[in-house]
């Protein structure tokens, strides 16, 4: 079944991704992540001075600001901010920097669908660039179920989303087996909840769909996210090595 996005031959094919880190000079860390025609730039500042009213005495305060490409930020963007923040909170080891602020600003640069996923991938790479302590890396993809073909399409474009009967955004970390909140000095026992299946860290679905369709989306997206993990690892490694080798006098 052909996709509306004619550049792609298969339903589960992702658009080529690319990224670059450390391209802003004022921020402590920054990264741009592209899924084909969708691109998000993300900056990170911190651990920095925090406003008294936001101060948390046992951990860093995470602040996420989302800025749309067109128009002023509205409730949609606030909802995104919340989703991104609550997804990153268990990933950032905030207990190491109490009473500080880690501020993440997310700016859409090009919008051709799957923006939330693009943003989450940009955010994790920016956090890596800033050297914020993390207990794992995450990867995100979006998929839809096409209303005409009932097919699951990965990494959809705006056009494809317009024809979706449901939209699903997923995030997986690179080690679901290891508990998330090691920092919080609490001993986590997830054995009661380990069935060996892919474990979404974040999942947001809207539209109309069945349980079976949903679980299929989870599994397909999981594979795709591993590709994203692989890419992030490759990209970050290349940068680190480049820096390292060049500076060996």
């Amino acid at each position: 079944m052909a996709r509306l996005d004619t550049t792609r031959t298969s339903a589960h094919q992702l658009r080529p991704f690319s990224s670059s880190q450390n391209l802003l000079n004022r921020a402590d860390g920054s990264a741009q992540f592209d899924f084909g025609g969708s691109s998000v730039l993300c900056s990170v500042v911190g651990p920095a001075e925090v406003k008294l009213r936001d101060e948390k005495l046992n951990k860093a305060t995470l602040e996420v600001i989302v800025r749309p490409l067109v128009g002023l930020p509205g409730v949609k963007d606030k909802a995104c901010e919340r989703a991104i923040r609550e997804t990153l909170e268990p990933i950032v080891i905030s207990a190491l920097h109490p009473r500080t602020l880690v501020q993440i600003v997310v700016q859409t640069m090009k919008d051709n669908g799957s923006i939330l996923s693009t943003a989450l991938n940009a955010a994790i790479m920016a956090l890596l660039d800033a050297g914020i302590p993390l207990n794992s890396i995450i990867g995100s993809v979006t998929c839809i179920i096409d209303s005409k073909t009932n097919e699951i399409l990965l990494d959809p474009t705006t056009e494809e989303i317009a024809r979706a009967k449901s939209t699903h955004v997923f995030v997986f970390d690179n080690k679901s087996s290891i508990p998330s909140s090691t920092s919080a000095s609490m001993d986590v026992d997830i054995s009661n909840d380990d069935d060996g299946s892919p474990r979404p860290l974040f999942s947001e679905s809207t539209g109309l769909f069945t349980e079976e369709e949903y679980l299929e989306c989870v599994n397909i997206s999981f594979k795709a996210c591993q590709a994203v993990h692989g890419f992030i690892r490759t990209a970050v490694s290349k940068k680190i090595e480049k820096e390292h080798q060049q500076t060996q006098a």
Binding site: V75, A83, E86, F172, A184, E204, T206, L208, V218
Partner: protein, 292 residues
């Protein structure tokens, strides 16, 4: 709440002893873990237990449709008001359906006066998306005169008392209020829209909304430190939980929205469990609506 005294006496430090309330204030997480370890919650509920829920239609006569919903200590009132507006250029025959949730400082000390908090905005947007993306209402039903005038339905939810799980309560109140909406039939004449002032409204002089489906939700909170799943968390529980799984279903059992945010990654077993529990819960809610 016999269980309280038991588990807290166990919680007392050798040196200093406190009343249950003081202990909860000083060490909320520990206090809570003690209960969870015994499979109960401070308010006596089991982990998967929901709070008593009531729904009342048509409680505000100044609104075209209204509903009051109580879930335990949470009380919300949704009033839907129909007013006349100009349609958008690119959708000349579509009306507006605009849900907004207000979390005023009256309903809890955790809300400040002023513009809506992030929470209020997020809940409003979540409801807005469900209404839109699961196509609850065909907006062309709200057209009065193409390109000239349409109905704008303001579905405002005012939270009177906040004790957690605002999404379930707000969505329930919005859907019930929409089903209660009655709008006087309009006449259009050179930009003037008139409706009859008749005392008694019937299908002759007014119309009701034709809702494609009635999405209702069940929300569960994740208590990270022991990966426990709490149905319908109250305010105190929300404060110490790190994540949330929320499932929204229509009467045919189709999923209209599903979200898992915050806390550690969760297995599919857990997700399935949530969906299953949500089915029984939303069925309950539907019978509650019918019963009144």
């Amino acid at each position: 709440m016999a269980s309280t005294s038991i588990s807290v006496s166990a919680a007392e430090s050798p040196a200093f002893s406190f009343s249950a309330s003081t202990f909860q204030k000083l060490h909320p997480v520990e206090f809570f873990r003690k209960f969870i370890s015994q499979g109960v919650r401070p308010d006596g509920r089991l982990l998967e237990g929901f709070r008593p829920t009531t729904v009342h239609k048509n409680v505000v006569s100044t609104a075209n449709g209204s509903a009051m919903v109580r879930i335990g200590g949470t009380t919300v009132i949704c009033g839907v008001k129909a007013e006349v507006a100009e349609p958008k250029m690119d959708s000349p025959n579509q009306g507006y359906l605009v849900p907004n949730v207000e979390l005023s400082p009256m309903c809890s000390s955790s809300f400040r006066p002023g513009p809506p908090s992030e929470q209020a905005q997020a809940v409003s947007e979540a409801i807005n998306r469900v209404l839109k993306e699961s196509k609850v209402l065909d907006l062309t039903d709200l057209c009065i005169e193409e390109g000239k005038a349409v109905w704008a339905l303001w579905a405002d939810v005012s939270c009177v008392s906040y004790d957690g799980n605002i999404y379930d309560a707000a969505l329930l109140s919005v859907m019930t209020a929409l089903s209660d909406v009655r709008i006087r039939k309009p006449t259009y004449n050179e930009g003037i829209i008139k409706v009859s002032g008749a005392e008694i409204l019937d299908d002759e002089n007014s119309f009701t909304l034709n809702l494609a489906r009635t999405p209702l939700s069940a929300t569960f909170s994740l208590f990270d430190s022991s990966m426990a799943l709490l149905a319908d968390a109250n305010a105190a529980e929300e404060a110490i939980c790190q994540g949330e799984i929320s499932v929204t279903l229509d009467e045919k059992g189709q999923i209209c929205a599903l979200s898992k945010v915050g806390a550690a990654s969760s297995s599919q077993t857990l997700l399935r469990q949530c969906i299953a529990t949500a089915r029984t819960r939303t069925d309950e809610l539907r019978s509650i609506i019918r019963s009144q």
